[in-house]
Symmetry: none
Subunit: 199 residues, 4 copies
DNA sequence: CCTTAATCGAGACGGTACGTCGTGTCTTTAT
DNA sequence: ATAAAGACACGACGTACCGTCTCGATTAAGG
């Protein structure tokens, strides 16, 4: 019958990591990334602290790992290709923001907050989420240029920053992920005008 | 008779607060707002922890107080009135950003970071710095409307958020206050176009 | 109509002392002499700490004062003179021990306990309670010698110590004042035999 | 191969306890049990407060532990058996009292003093020192009865209390352990007469 | 297959900071 | 001058975490 043989009392590798992820997620949801303690996560996961510190240097790194593991499941790696710049942009923003349900938004908030004290966290975050997304965005824009929706010229990098900045600002200050209406509003009234979008 | 006061061995009210502010500033500069400890601030200020906790509930509140006390000295309460919207905007942004020298920028960074865990901090911050600045900005824009530089219509509040969002984003992610050139860039390529500025 | 004129908001001298005594007694009953705090006593008495420290150097001294003020009201200053050594001894012991009701016994217990750290407390205690009692005891014994109940010779001072030692020992270890039966037992089976009492 | 162990940088169990005992003894000798602080004991022992609180709930319990550990090394567990009741009694009292050198006497004083606030301390004290000694004393008396030195009848328990009471009374009030001469005096003029000792 | 090395669970260790409380002194305001 | 109120400087309290380390038990790998 090939049962997975978890009769054992000790867990190893992936099995353990799953348990820790679950424990960390619970702990962070309850106490925030800031209030989470390695002690409690270990207790919750039914393991010792050493097993945690062997894999993650501190709570932040663990938190980021859990966050990204959870998010990258639900965030589509490729942005939509609708044939319309507006739809591509709105769609990708919506799909990004909508992937943060309740607790995940708060975890993201705390990760952003912790960025101020942890350059490695920023780096890892960009490497695993920011950079891929930026690359996709570039594709979206290049397709729009090819279609003639926007002028073929270098795009002011400042414009790239605006959505990120706005999302993190709202999240930090109000604790809310921007909703779908705000996404459309941002695209229609800020991004597209600045890109000299026509039609 | 003009005796120089302060013959006393114990400090009272304002005198003590000055000492604490200085101590807290030093401590925060060295260890960050996050790494600052009430113990050490008290020791530095030559007082006891009780005197601190009597006035501030935690390090964040103290940090904010010190920050605002320092900043509100150097930030001009009224924005410039040059007769030109562009000059008004660029001038006020520059004067705002340039008031954060070295350590102050880092303190601001940490305050923004801590905002994620402390709604009262946000409130106090807005009350003492954000709101007055927004009011001034409204004046600037009304003057520009009167002069006919921008259309007389309600301005999308999203636009108000962009500078704040950008400043805090850059500060969190890169630890830098945006420089004068970026200020001009932001005004010329983002704000003014979105305001439908003519001439 | 000669009302006692406590219309004033400030109390003076004796009036204040009465209030402090009452407050201290309440505080000590609740928290023990050890757990009593000047802060709370002042608060209870509706006065400031300065008024307390102006009169008593510390909680122990105040406690002793309250204790003696209360006790010396109820302890008869002179021992009985019944014409019988046994009756004199039993009577004086009983009248002494029976003057400690509930809370007072605990206060005495704590005073004895604090004696270990406060020589002045011992001194004051002896001066105001121990010495007078010893003097009375000497009278009792001299009368007995005159009546021929015990030999006319110097009495071993060790015997004087036994009742005190026993009372304090029982109080410290068990928290109880010795009862009337034990008083009689002590006199009949220890003190009188050692005094070579006849008949 | 007989390696000398203890190459480690961290101490474990017994090793740590030894260090703490030494530190506590030093601290108590300097500041008294009352003035001793967990902070300082930890500092002296080169450990953290947590390691102390993990084992002892407060300074008193630690003090008692140190005291008993030190005393039970030097106090002979079995009383002498000289064939003479007087010698047995005097010998055992002397050997008991003489085991308190300088600082130890003061520690005992403070422990007795603290007994007033800590029933568990009394219990532990009796369990580890008082009860064994009483058992030995019973043996001494039974041997004396067998030899016919004292009448074979139940002994008034009050008599058992007298030495303890006297020792603790002297210690509390004068800070002194009774000396050898007083021991003999007590045995010859109080204990033996009350036991109806003959010869 | 059996040893050897690694990892697991548990928790102690040496530290640091927390926020509260109590002390005894000192200042302020008002009687 | 002294009462009431409470701030001040100090330092101990007992708790919670941190990140490291130790320890025996268990398991996986490799010769």
């Amino acid at each position: 019958m090939a049962l997975p043989a978890t009769t054992s009392s000790r867990r190893t590798g992936d099995e353990l990591i799953q348990a820790v992820h679950a424990a960390a997620l619970a702990e962070i949801s309850e106490n925030g990334l800031r209030g989470a303690s390695m002690d409690r996560i270990a207790k919750r996961a039914g393991t010792g602290k050493a097993a945690l510190y062997r894999r993650w240097p501190n709570v932040r790194a663990l938190g980021l790992d859990v966050f990204l593991a959870t998010i990258t499941e639900s965030v589509p790696q490729a942005f939509p290709n609708t044939g319309s710049l507006r739809e591509d942009l709105v769609g990708s923003m919506k799909s990004f923001t909508s992937s943060f349900h309740g607790p995940m938004a708060l975890v993201l908030r705390e990760l952003i907050s912790e960025s101020a004290h942890d350059p490695e966290l920023i780096e890892e975050f960009n490497r695993r989420l920011g950079d891929p997304m930026e690359a996709e965005l570039v594709n979206v824009l290049q397709r729009a240029m090819a279609r003639g929706e926007i002028p073929t010229k270098t795009i002011d990098p400042l414009i790239f920053e605006l959505p990120d900045a706005l999302i993190s600002h709202r999240l930090l200050m109000r604790g809310e992920i921007i909703d779908d209406i705000t996404c459309e509003h941002l695209v229609d009234n800020v991004i597209l005008p600045l890109l000299e979008f026509r039609r």
